[in-house]
Symmetry: C2
Subunit: 149 residues, 2 copies
DNA sequence: ATAGGACTTAAAGTTAACTTTAGGTCAAGA
DNA sequence: TCTTGACCTAAAGTTAACTTTAAGTCCTAT
């Protein structure tokens, strides 16, 4: 049998969040329709858990909580906000793709740095490796030239 | 002829940072060997610009400034800190790869959401599309089961 | 010579996203 | 029965990473 409601402590473990963070989200209105049981304890149903999943997702793409709040509000407002929500995800997709590219670039830089320091550690010194050291700027040098006025 | 020193304003434009952020980094000791000209204005040379490049890079992988500071300190301390620096990049590589995977997953979710809302906007309502709506939880459901104690 | 613009410092202020504290309720087990 | 642990609220505190403010210097162009 499927469990259909969870305590705040269970949800905290599920998402690896603290109990007080969940209370804070609730307080901020990020978890719509979150009910309480007879003794005032929060009862999280699957809708509430979906909301937290979305929050965590949007947090990971650096969306501030106030924007996440707006998205959640749009959801509650129904069909009139559909185009808002569509453009939110279109924009998100763009920034996400840029971020992915940049992180892949950084990943290459980190790979290089790993090799660089591996050799240096083997040698016991940076001296020998530093001659052919490629600086980060040589790997990516599109930022060097200041915009002319 | 290559320019070999830049003003704070030029560097700010280069990296799309504010002038006060650069002063803050300097104050925090993140830019070693940053000199000033006769009238007390900061003169950024290529070593200083390299440092900022690294800072920006490490910031983008969510490294806090205090850790970046430590890395910069290690650099100044020379060969005795080589293994520290190696393990820093080994760890960075691991977390970076995890992040990349997670972002790709989120990218798929966002793609789905774009399609979802595209259809909804075409229909003028979420009603028809919501029947076969795949929740985020169905796309990724490895967080559902709370850890048993 | 004076006004504007880019620079300087030191210190105070801001913002987001929590986290902690203080004091209280409630249910279960020894 | 009484203590332990999980929950509750409201409010204050924390931290990072800037940003702003206030007061001043220096150079250039009108």
């Amino acid at each position: 049998m499927e469990k259909n409601s969870y305590t705040i402590g269970e949800v905290a473990k599920m998402f690896n969040l603290s109990v007080s963070t969940l209370r804070y989200y609730d307080q901020e209105g990020l978890i719509p329709n979150l009910n309480k049981d007879a003794s005032g304890h929060r009862k999280f149903n699957s809708e509430n858990i979906d909301a937290i999943e979305i929050i965590e997702c949007l947090k990971e793409v650096n969306m501030p909580l106030k924007d996440i709040k707006l998205f959640i509000k749009w959801n509650l407002e129904g069909d009139i906000t559909l185009s808002n929500r569509l453009s939110l995800f279109i924009n998100l997709d763009k920034t996400l793709k840029k971020r992915l590219e940049r992180l892949e670039e950084i990943s290459r830089i980190v790979d290089y740095k790993k090799e660089y320091y591996s050799q240096a550690v083997r040698d016991g010194t940076e001296k020998f490796v530093s001659k052919n050291k490629v600086s980060l700027l040589e790997i990516k040098n599109d930022r060097r030239i200041p915009k002319e006025k």
